[in-house]
């Protein structure tokens, strides 16, 4: 199964004809992703990398049956593009753009209510179901198919963890980076629920960071509702309080925001907590072995 995207997903790129969108659409196609076209207002009717360009998301959906969109438009226009995708009936919107104003995302989240759509990002490396669908900027070759679900804030820390798992022969069902912004499209909890129901996912790795309480919320739900091992890591144990650590949302605003406090809470919620990022792969492996012993 996998979650969010699979080999049947029909993908469009918004901001299709831009340099980055073009490169990453080509990469996605190379991995077998069904990229069915793209949207660049004013360039409708043209062809770009052998795919049709549309003026609106509505046109693209009607003519291609697209259900997933990857947004590469600049920050000033991102909220509008995301709402257009929601209105157009896209089911999964992956917002790669970094630097989207927070209040724009507050409005987008309000607009989202009542729509059956999931937004991943902004400021995300995206989503990948290995060898089936890549909607993001991650290096595809390190993602080997398998049965571990990964959800992280950071992109590069996601790569780090995935590589460690690959070396131990552990593959990925689906991997998602939700992005580092304080108001983001999709939280850890929403994805935890999907992984819990996915029969191709045996364990979930959650890679969080300082700031906010999303990791604890997801772990609390998982303890009560999910019978798969949950492995957790929180980045930022050495981050000074009150400073924004690269990601707009990565800031210690109170005692509960620290990596230490979050890891402690996660451990109390039966999460296999990784203290050292270099040990993520091994901890996932051990938690699976322990699961087998119990079963």
């Amino acid at each position: 199964m996998s979650i969010l995207v699979n080999k049947d997903s029909k993908v469009i790129f918004q901001g299709f004809t831009g340099q980055h969108a073009t490169f990453h659409a080509q990469e996605a196609i190379r991995m077998g992703t069904q990229v069915v076209g793209g949207v660049t207002p004013g360039k409708g009717g043209q062809t770009h990398i052998d795919r049709p360009v549309f003026d609106t998301v509505k046109d693209a959906v009607e003519q291609t049956g697209a259900d997933v969109s990857v947004v590469f438009v600049p920050p000033a226009f991102t909220a509008d593009a995301v709402m257009e995708a929601i209105d157009g009936g896209i089911k999964v919107i992956v917002v790669i753009t970094d630097g989207v104003p927070v209040q724009d995302m507050v409005r987008v989240k309000r607009y989202l209510i009542g729509h059956d759509t999931i937004i991943i990002g902004p400021n995300t490396a995206g989503v990948i179901t290995p060898e089936a669908c890549k909607v993001g900027i991650m290096p595809a070759h390190i993602y080997v198919p398998g049965r571990i679900g990964v959800v992280s804030r950071s992109g590069t820390l996601n790569y780090e963890a995935v590589e460690q798992m690959s070396e131990l022969g552990l593959g990925i069902s689906t991997s998602i980076s939700i992005g580092g912004d304080p108001v983001n499209g999709c939280d850890f909890l929403t994805l935890m629920k999907q992984f819990a129901e996915d029969d191709e996912t045996d364990a979930v790795l959650m890679i969080g960071e300082i700031g906010g309480s999303q990791e604890v919320e997801a772990a609390t739900w998982a303890r009560d509702h999910m019978d798969k091992p949950l492995i957790g890591f929180i980045a930022g144990a050495t981050a000074p309080p009150g400073r924004t650590m690269g990601h707009a949302g990565a800031i210690i605003s109170g005692e509960d925001d620290t990596a230490q406090a979050k890891m402690k809470r996660l451990a109390e919620l039966d999460v296999h907590v990784v203290q050292n990022a270099a040990e993520i792969g091994r901890t996932v492996q051990q938690s699976l072995e322990r699961q087998e012993c119990v079963a």
Partner: protein, 390 residues
């Protein structure tokens, strides 16, 4: 991005939020002139720095005589004010705000934030004004009122009246306070703020409300459409190296350890710092080179990290996705040839164009410590620190 109290109060005036009469001054003489122009029977001289906690730290001084205004300003301007938010080294005071002293009857708290839990703008109010609102919320949560704003319709009048009544106001004061809340919300929304705080909002002897203190911070991602806010940025309040780094599109934060770090991605950068610490070292900085880092950008990152005299080892940890290891390697070679590098360099590269990157490093004849993994890189950095480089 933060601005000063006097700037926030100017913004408040524009939105018709009542504030005390005041003037900003760069010198003791100007402070005196300001007090003379303001008139009245007493004045407050307030140090203008971005950090909070000024009152308790001696940064807000009362003057009954004009002479005292000058003395206070003289004492504050040019001094380093240490508050609980500045750290030990304190913050240099370059200017003061001189205001008329007010006849205060009651103090309240009023604030707006973007609440991460509900992802909406939330109005916060309390009858416990003049205190640290986080402490109030922790000790007696019943004293703090939260009212969530629906972004589709904005903050409504009834919500403001409900909050005003909730902090114990009555009669005419309910509408007066509600108007202030509404105006603060408009200002917050119009200017892409992340936080606005009036602490305290006071009532005076003649029954008026005044924003006695004022604090706002703004969304750095929205400055492209807020030029008048961006113009008010005070670079003196920021670490000059962080400013320089941001000019090169690098995200740098100075810390007090000895292992200099150059990493791509904020999450991996934090995790790398944490790993260094677990192996017994201490990171000298956070540095995220971001995506698509050119050789020049890497060379700039080297220079900025190595300017810190505490750096005894330099560690690069790059997991290239959108980046390219060959560009990173070119940047390393360029940096080492341009700069005088006297500390061991530990390099861990992974991801896109790894082989090309390794070849560039090998062909350059550069002396460096190779690491395959994050654990390796952290461990070898700490070993190199102890003089065991090999």
């Amino acid at each position: 991005m933060n601005i000063h109290e006097y700037q926030t109060k100017d913004l408040f005036r524009h939105y018709k939020i009542p504030v005390p009469e005041g003037r900003m001054a760069h010198s003791a003489n100007k402070a005196l002139t300001a007090a003379e122009q303001l008139g009245g029977e007493g004045w407050v001289v307030k140090a203008q720095i971005h950090a909070g906690g000024r009152g308790k730290a001696g940064g807000v001084l009362l003057a009954k005589q004009l002479d005292e205004v000058r003395e206070h300003a003289e004492k504050l301007i040019g001094s380093h004010l240490v508050t609980k938010q500045t750290g030990e080294q304190g913050r240099m005071v370059n200017r003061v705000l001189v205001e008329q002293m007010q006849d205060i009857k009651a103090e309240y708290y009023l604030g707006l934030v973007i609440n991460r839990a509900n992802q909406r703008i939330t109005l916060i109010a309390s009858a416990a004004g003049g205190m640290d609102i986080e402490e109030v919320a922790a000790k007696s949560p019943d004293k703090v009122i939260n009212e969530v704003v629906d972004p589709a319709v904005g903050l409504q009048d009834f919500q403001c009246r409900k909050v005003a009544a909730g902090i114990g106001l009555s009669g005419k004061q309910i509408n007066m306070a509600a108007r202030i809340m509404k105006r603060l919300y408009r200002c917050f929304r119009d200017k892409d703020a992340l936080m606005a705080e009036i602490n305290p909002l006071v009532t005076t002897g003649d029954g008026q409300f005044l924003a006695l203190d004022a604090k706002m911070s703004f969304d750095g991602n929205a400055l492209f459409r807020q030029p008048e806010i961006a113009d008010q940025r005070d670079f003196d309040e920021e670490d000059p190296k962080e400013v320089e780094a941001s000019g090169h599109d690098l995200n740098y934060i100075a810390l007090d350890g000895s292992v200099g770090c150059i990493v791509n991605g904020a999450g991996l950068a934090m995790a790398t710092m944490d790993a260094i610490s677990l192996y017994g070292g201490r990171p000298a900085n956070f540095l995220d080179v971001g995506g698509g880092a050119s050789p020049e950008k890497i060379a700039n990152a080297f220079r900025i990290v190595l300017e810190d005299p505490n750096v005894k080892v330099l560690m690069l940890n790059i997991y290239a996705g959108i980046n390219r290891c060959d560009w990173i390697a070119e940047g390393i070679v360029k940096a080492v040839s341009d700069l005088e590098v006297n500390v061991p360099i530990v390099v861990r590269l992974a991801g896109t164009n790894l082989e090309e990157g390794r070849k560039i490093l090998a062909d350059s004849g550069l002396q460096y410590i190779h690491a395959d993994r994050l654990s390796d890189a952290a461990e070898k950095s700490v070993k190199a620190l102890a003089g065991g480089a090999a």
